[in-house]
């Protein structure tokens, strides 16, 4: 019996889909059998981030409506044999599925997979309710911005009222030079406000854009800072005690000085 994890945030554009793709690929790299579920019906994107957009025949709504068997809708990843995607429907909307159906779907998936990772749509309406319905655990992605942290706080409250306790936080797109200057909230600021457990931090990294352009999740194709950060999170989720990544300041005066003098 596998675990069902939902990746959520409230606000759009903070990195839910990127996080889903990278954590899923990270688990597959360690030999886990993983399925990624795109719950963003009508606005599917996990397929393009994974580079699997040309292989879609059936989708989540087809499965729920009984137009195909679950196995027919699952797409195997290009590179990793143990990694699968269940794509969202693009021509339907959030109301095509209900929370009860999602619970049934998640329970069916967990029979065959070590991990079921659900990419939740932005917002707090039907799509959110569907995405969290079958999950054992929630991971909240936020960025160090007022709007994203505020929405994360709202999501924590909503998860609580749905009986999903102890969500874990990922702080994405941290810019070390701005944190150093006091122009970006740091990890402690955000944890103090939201008062939930920190699962990991991801530094801002150009390589995420490059890997998304190519449809190859960063964890699989690079040793960039974000890639290492995602690998650390995967290991933490598997129960390892991995210390928080040291956020390196790449364009600060002192780090340039350090590089020049090589210390």
């Amino acid at each position: 019996m596998g675990d069902v994890i939902v990746i959520t945030s409230g606000k759009g554009g903070v990195g839910k889909t990127t996080t889903t793709a990278n954590l899923g690929t990270g688990f597959a790299l360690l030999g886990k059998k993983v399925v990624l579920v795109d719950a963003d019906i009508g606005l599917r994107n996990l397929d393009v981030v994974m580079g699997l957009e040309n292989r879609i025949v059936y989708d989540l709504v087809d499965v729920v409506e009984g137009n195909c068997r679950l196995k027919q809708a699952l797409i195997r990843d290009k590179r990793y044999e143990s990694l699968y995607l269940l794509p969202a429907a693009q021509t339907r909307d959030k109301n095509a599925v209900n929370p009860e159906q999602m619970k049934v779907l998640c329970n069916e998936l967990r029979q065959d997979f070590d991990l079921v990772i659900i990419d939740c749509p932005a917002g707090i309406e039907q799509g959110f309710k569907n995405a969290i319905a079958g999950a054992d655990q929630a991971i909240i992605v936020t960025t160090p911005e007022v709007s994203a942290v505020r929405d994360a706080d709202r999501i924590i409250g909503l998860l609580e009222s749905e009986g999903k306790h102890n969500p874990k936080l990922i702080i994405n797109r941290i810019r070390p030079n701005m944190v150093r200057k006091g122009d970006m909230m740091d990890i402690d600021d955000i944890i103090e406000i939201l008062a939930i457990d920190l699962l990991g931090i991801i530094p801002e990294d150009d390589y995420i854009i490059i890997s998304t352009n190519r449809g190859e999740p960063a964890v699989a194709s690079s040793v960039s800072a974000a890639s290492v950060a995602y690998k650390n999170i995967v290991r933490r989720l598997l129960g390892e005690n991995v210390p928080l990544m040291k956020i390196e300041d790449n364009d600060g005066f002192f780090s340039r000085l350090k590089k020049v003098f090589n210390f």
């Binding site: 505020r150 706080d153 006091g182 970006m184 600021d189 005066f253």
Partner: protein, 93 residues
């Protein structure tokens, strides 16, 4: 001059992250109270329990709400008192 040195080394006197944190703190007081329907009711019920040890109040007309100013939030409670109880009554469990 000191400001200039601070700026050179990237330490702005008024850190914008402190502004962000303060604004978040205030907005979340509002959000958390508003979005949880049980929150204000629970608070009201608990207040009634405590205050009733000391006086009879009019629960029907009592009012509990948040008042906002530019940089603070206050909890305002308007609780009509019917009459005071004699001395302090401590309810023993």
């Amino acid at each position: 001059m000191f400001d200039l040195i601070q700026k050179l080394f990237g330490k702005d006197a008024a850190c914008s992250k402190d502004v962000a944190k303060e604004r978040l703190r205030l907005v979340l007081v509002h959000d958390r109270a508003d979005t949880s329907p049980q929150f204000m009711e629970g608070l009201k019920d608990d207040m009634i329990k405590v205050i009733s040890n000391y006086m009879d109040i009019n629960e029907e007309t009592m009012e509990v709400r948040f008042a906002h100013t530019e940089n603070s939030v206050a909890l305002i409670a308007n609780i009509p008192v019917n009459h005071m109880k004699r001395g302090k009554r401590v309810v023993k469990e």
